[in-house]
Amino acid sequence: MARVVVDVMLKPEILDPQGQAVQRALPRLGFEGIADVRQGKRFELEVEGPVDDAALARIHEIAETFLANTVIEDFSVKVEVGEGADAAAGKAGS
């Protein structure tokens, strides 16, 4: 099975108080020099069958209608390389 990753981020103009709270905590923890933090969501979709153009188009539709609210969020779709057996082994080991 192949893995497709959908990243969802608030649009740049939308206030992200969660990201700001993380950013404000960084100096307290001794991490200086981080000017801004924005928090997003990552979805990992394990796809049955080949990840061809049709499958990618379907995942794009899933992302656009459901995973992201495009009124406030942008999204990107990436295919992760790696064979099913390796991915499964990696999971078992983690």
């Binding site: 939308i14 206030l15 108080p17 969660q18 709270a21 609210n69 009124v71 406030i72």
Partner: protein
């Protein structure tokens, strides 16, 4: 014949019973609707009550939007049936795009629970006819995802068309743009707001006032005059 108002229960809905009670207090018949029902049981209006439908997983209101009952609610709302979304119901209405914009985490990140003053900016929608234009009401508010956002063009359009139905007074509890507490669609039959009128229909509970009752009597006015 009494007007029938459907009240939808999703998994995670909390305020369906209070809403049914408010409907009855206003002299209407409350009809419970289940999220898996496609059949709206010939109701004259629908209320999507508050709570955390589907646990607010993914985004508040995002999963409920695809439930069978919402297919019928969306169709009927487009055909002119009055629909009110309270709190989580408002979030569901933005996710369905029956109302523009979106709801986000409060700007201070805290869950908030307080009595909230509102100004009724539009007393001509299906759900606000019992109020006066500019009237101030005080009803409970409780949420964590209550920050209303939309782009400038949409906000200007809402203002120009009188579709900002309620604005927060004295304090903006969540960072909503332009102090918006509630909006309507262009036809005025679909209204959503974050505060909870159903918790202020009897003097014994909530704010000790009955400022929320007007929502439910408004719908009676509309249905009788229709």
């Amino acid at each position: 014949m009494t007007a029938r108002v459907g009240v939808v229960t999703f998994p995670g809905t909390l305020d369906d019973r209070d809403t049914q009670r408010a409907v009855r207090t206003a002299g209407l018949e409350a009809v419970p609707l289940w999220h898996r029902d496609k059949d709206l049981k010939q109701v004259d209006a629908v209320i999507l009550p508050g709570g955390f439908s589907y646990g607010d997983y993914l985004r508040a209101g995002a999963i409920s939007r695809f439930s069978p009952v919402m297919e019928s609610v969306i169709d009927q709302a487009k055909a002119g049936m009055p629909v009110l979304g309270i709190c989580n119901g408002f979030q569901v209405l933005t996710e369905t795009h029956l109302l523009p914009g979106a709801m986000l985490r409060n700007n201070h990140l805290h869950f908030i629970c307080r009595d909230q003053k509102l100004r009724v900016e539009n007393a001509e929608t299906a759900w606000t006819r019992s109020y006066e234009q500019g009237q101030e009401i005080n009803i409970p508010l409780k949420n964590i995802d209550g920050r209303y956002v939309a782009d400038e063009r949409v906000l200007d359009e809402l203002e120009a068309e009188g579709r900002v139905v309620f604005r927060y007074r004295e304090l903006n509890p969540n960072g909503s743009l332009r102090d918006i507490a509630g909006i309507s669609n262009a036809a005025g039959n679909v209204v959503g707001l974050m505060p909870h009128p159903e918790h202020a229909v009897e003097p014994l509970i909530g704010t000790g006032r009955t400022d929320g009752l007007g929502f439910f009597t408004s719908i009676l006015k509309r249905l009788v005059s229709a």
